[in-house]
């Protein structure tokens, strides 16, 4: 039986992955125990900026179970510099990034020494016996202050400015000159927003095991990027790439946080090489927060010009982006990913984007869910609300009059991208219906009129994003060091079972399930007969891994093309077996038939014939396996409309989300269960940025949010139930019609929540509240409200369509 009764694509299949995850039969990296394995513990700098004047390891070395204690000096000759794959400009300043500090530390949490011991407990004990003398240097924390170059993070660079990257629509030929638009505008709005620093906070702490037996270096790591890691570890250490095998076993979440080549991965490898024994390192949560890369951290100065009727004309974006102390894998490029998204779904005539990347004595930043695009979406969606307030217009109306209409696709944007498809009207109509938009506005008006203690706010976010990273030629033009293709192989086994090898590297996304669905659908084999192999460079030898909502749109497409190749060859062989012309062969439900006859060969028959190879057509190779690599022509552009209602207690500052509607258009859906799950989780992280999470440092540069008691990852009681739905406009850039969904919820939700809270309070004189909008911040903003009777109060908030227009 190879027939499948109903299409697999689009089916809410329960996940294959779950069986092992709900029973504890998992393979997390930290589960591995190898014979003779040593344990590595890392001593981290407690100070943010200092010269190391002395490290005394003698007491630690003598402690029970300790094999060796190593410092940066011990590795100075071999550790090289951790790679940065995205030098965004030719003149970008890039300091050496040693895995372990040599002579100087540049952020609190940087590795200073290692203990290698026979157990994790002994290694941790010995850390406390290492004496380090620090000669403290001035700490650079604030980006604007950093740019004055009074104190330098890296004195050798002569400046704290890393790079400046510019896009200008007049220069690019994609639009007019933004200064002209601003000069001639009827309305100009200028705002500054802070994108606070966040911590990815994947649930599985990072872990690395390196084995040196059998003449190979085998590296297990809790990583999103086994293929890139192998390449980079080879480049940094000089270990030949073919002698390195990287395995990402079960990986417990990433969200961009495991898109990295980490100091600890490199150090574990170097230690294993030095000791000739297996070595394991597993971080504590606090270590993770102190040393794994952070996300966001931008100051956004936005200038928007418009006409009085609400038509937007120009958008100028001036960013400061905090790199932290070093450039990790894609650190400098993260804000650049947002460069193409500030204009979003709106038809600006002119656009200019200037980003200045800045070094500080903080943990390096890098990709975190959305990476550059949440920041852009936040800024533009806040600005559209500000414009609505300025003009006294309904905020949805001002979006509608400015967005790209569905009949205008494909649309060349002012940022130089071509949006292939979309229907903002449809998604918005559905969202407003589900939300009960008009009724909510009425309820809001009632509460305002009553002067209710608990005010109601309505927040809108009509977003788009660029996904399916990425066309290799575009990455090349952006000076990224790698390509953006993805690869897939299909092995047709003689018994008719199928092995799929993918270059994507799932860590919660459910690729084993969805890739099986795609192959079952294409080849007409049972879902259960497909096994998906991934995350091991020995079996999956080629790939660009998982991030940037790319796996399905790029990796899934490679899989489709591999299946097409299997079928093309099978068709030729089937014609040979049935002694007919290939043009007369039809394929349906896993079987080949001669058109108009009852002669049939199942795919399994054909695969077996190819395998035994007793009678093949002239020149045909035995076997029925196929490989395909897909390099996308364009990005994909998911979009949607999110509406958020918040109840804000004006006495306590407490914010409660009372309704959240997300209507997303992620193109053709392979598995609605998984898509909904991705949206839910994305929403949680975006809402968390709006209301809960912030990585903060004290004036000495110490991270003060280094535990889950201080860094407020929301729990179940902190979040509402979400109402999700979809509209579907297939992507035209890939045969699946898929756009990607991993980042959508996070990108869309932050501005929806913030707009909602401000909408609840604007009529009370509140102009802005920094994220996260904690009760304290909301309450404080309310204390600053002007006396009743001033113009500010009369001006009304969003949705007050009777507002007189204009606020000071």
């Amino acid at each position: 039986m190879t027939a499948t009764a109903e299409p697999e694509i689009g089916k809410a299949r329960l996940r294959k992955e779950d069986a092992r995850l709900i029973t504890g039969q998992t393979r997390w990296t930290d589960n591995l125990q190898l014979t003779g394995m040593l344990h590595m513990a890392v001593l981290r700098s407690p100070v943010a900026h200092a010269r190391i004047t002395n490290i005394d390891v003698s007491r630690a070395t003598a402690m029970p179970g300790v094999a060796v204690v190593l410092t940066g000096e011990d590795f100075a000759a071999e550790q090289g510099s951790l790679p940065c794959a995205w030098p965004i400009t030719e003149d970008m300043k890039s300091p050496p990034a040693p895995a372990m500090a040599v002579g100087q530390v540049n952020f609190a949490g940087e590795a200073v020494a290692l203990v290698i011991a026979d157990s994790a407990y002994h290694a941790a004990d010995a850390l406390e016996a290492i004496d380090v003398d620090y000669d403290e240097l001035p700490v650079v924390l604030d980006m604007e202050e950093a740019l004055r170059d009074n104190d330098l993070v890296h004195p050798d660079l002569g400046t704290n400015k890393c790079a400046t990257w510019i896009f200008d629509s007049a220069e690019a030929g994609s639009g007019t000159n933004v200064e002209d638009e601003i000069a001639s505008a009827e309305v100009v709005i200028e705002r500054t927003f802070k994108q606070q620093r966040l911590i990815p906070a994947f649930m599985e702490p990072r872990s690395v095991v390196v084995d040196t037996t059998a003449g190979m270096f085998t590296v297990w790591s809790a990583t999103q990027i086994p293929h890139i890691l192998r390449w980079m570890l080879s480049a940094v250490t000089g270990i030949s790439e073919h002698k390195l095998r990287v395995i990402a076993p079960d990986v417990g979440g990433g969200f961009g946080g495991k898109l990295q080549v980490t100091p600890e991965e490199l150090l574990c490898l170097l230690v294993a090489r030095r000791m000739g024994r297996p070595v394991k390192w597993t971080e504590s949560r606090t270590e993770s927060m102190l040393s794994a890369h952070h996300g966001r951290d931008q100051i956004q100065k936005i200038t928007l010009s418009a006409r009085r009727d609400g038509t937007v004309t120009g958008l100028k974006v001036e960013l400061l982006a905090d790199m932290g102390a070093y450039l990790r894998l894609v650190t400098p490029g993260v804000p650049i990913l947002g460069a193409f998204m500030f204009n979003s779904i709106y038809k600006f005539a002119a656009y200019r984007f200037v980003c200045t990347n800045v070094f500080t004595n903080k943990v390096p930043t890098d990709a975190y869910r959305g990476a550059g695009r949440p920041e852009a979406t936040f800024a533009i969606e806040r600005m559209m609300d500000e414009l609505a307030v300025e003009l006294g217009m309904e905020p949805m109306k001002i979006r509608q009059m400015n967005w790209i209409r569905h009949e205008e696709f494909p649309f060349n944007t002012v940022a130089g991208l071509t949006y292939d498809s979309g229907n903002y009207e449809a998604a918005t109509a559905r969202a407003m219906e589900l939300f009960g938009y008009e009724e909510m506005r009425e309820e809001q008006a009632r509460r305002r009129a009553d002067g209710s203690v608990v005010q109601l706010g309505i927040g809108i976010s009509t977003y788009t994003e660029m996904c399916g990273l990425a066309p290799s030629r575009v990455l090349g033009a952006l000076r990224y060091a790698a390509g953006g293709w993805e690869t897939a192989s299909i092995r047709m086994l003689p018994t008719g079972k199928v092995e799929v090898i993918t270059g994507t590297s799932p860590h919660g996304q459910g690729h084993e399930t969805v890739w099986s669905q795609i192959v079952a659908d294409k080849l007409g084999v049972p879902f259960e007969d497909v096994e998906v192999l991934h995350g091991d460079t020995a079996t999956s030898h080629k790939g660009m891994d998982s991030y940037g909502s790319r796996s399905l749109a790029v990796g899934g497409t490679a899989l489709v093309y591999a299946a097409d190749k299997v079928l093309a060859k099978a068709r030729t062989l089937a014609a040979h077996m049935m002694e007919c012309d290939e043009a007369d062969v039809e394929f349906a439900s896993g079987s080949f038939a001669v058109r108009g006859t009852s002669t049939v060969r199942s795919l399994g028959d054909v695969v077996l014939a190819a395998h035994v190879a007793h009678d093949l057509p002239e020149g045909m190779e035995p076997g029925m396996d196929a490989d395909a690599t897909f390099d996308p022509e364009n990005f994909s552009f998911p979009h949607g409309t999110h509406l958020c209602a918040t109840e804000v207690d004006t006495e306590t500052g407490m914010v409660r989300i009372s309704r959240y509607v997300a209507v997303d258009d992620v193109g053709t859906v392979m598995n609605p269960l998984i898509v909904d799950g991705q949206v839910h989780g994305g929403l949680a992280q975006g809402i968390a940025q709006a209301l809960y999470e912030e990585a903060t440092h004290d004036e000495m540069g110490t991270l003060t949010t280094a535990t889950f008691a201080d860094y407020l990852v929301p729990c179940a009681a902190d979040l509402p139930a979400f109402l999700t739905d979809r509209t579907t406009t297939p992507a035209t850039s890939n045969p699946l019609g898929a756009k990607g969904v991993g980042e959508a919820g996070t990108i869309a939700s932050t501005p929806a929540v913030v707009n909602s809270v401000l909408d609840a309070l604007r009529h009370l004189g509140v102009r802005d509240i920094e994220m996260p909008m904690s009760p304290e911040r909301v309450w404080t903003a309310l204390q600053g409200r002007p006396d009743p009777g001033t113009d500010d109060v009369a001006a009304g908030g969003l949705g007050s369509i009777d507002a007189q227009g204009g606020q000071s």
Partner: protein
């Protein structure tokens, strides 16, 4: 110190350091790697197991405190090849993505349902406050726990699916939360 602990139905007798955390005892000594460590402050709940039928965070307890007690981990839930209804419900409702929080979440959900057999949305959310998930936004976890409550209702299925830890002699839990 010498301890004797029953874990997932099997009794272990071991010499352990007094400072050894229960979760490390389970993982490193007994190879019960289904139970995981997500933080070091007792906030995330990934390491939740049952001690004499009640949920405890095994990173907040010493192995010696489990001496003489019965521990159930995620690996000991399935009986006679049949998953616990809460495990089934997590799978059926897509209540997990990366799955790292899942063992702790399931153990806590069982404890919650032992206290409240038909919890509403808010009761589930409050009952899971000590367990963090970064993937799911909790929506499907809440749904799964409510679904499990229905599956575990008397008459909802074969008796052997009405699994609870009631068979374990009720003794006072020690340590933990």
């Amino acid at each position: 110190m010498h301890i004797s602990v029953n874990v997932d139905g099997m009794t272990y007798a071991d010499e352990v350091e007094p400072r050894l955390l229960l979760v490390h005892y389970l993982r490193e000594r007994l190879s019960k790697t289904g139970t995981v460590v997500g933080c070091d402050t007792g906030n995330c709940g990934a390491c939740t197991v049952h001690l004499d039928g009640h949920s405890v965070k095994s990173c907040q307890m010493l192995a010696v405190q489990a001496n003489g007690h019965e521990v159930t981990t995620i690996e000991g839930l399935a009986r006679d090849g049949k998953l616990h209804p809460v495990q089934e419900a997590f799978r059926s409702n897509h209540a997990l993505q990366c799955g790292f929080c899942t063992p702790g979440m399931i153990m806590q959900a069982i404890d919650l349902l032992a206290d409240e057999s038909d919890p509403d949305d808010e009761a589930v959310r409050k009952g899971l406050e000590g367990n963090l998930c970064r993937c799911t936004g909790y929506q499907n976890i809440v749904r799964a726990v409510q679904d499990a409550a229905q599956r575990m209702k008397p008459g909802a299925g074969p008796k052997q699916e009405q699994h609870s830890d009631e068979h374990i002699a009720a003794t006072q839990p020690v340590g933990g939360e």
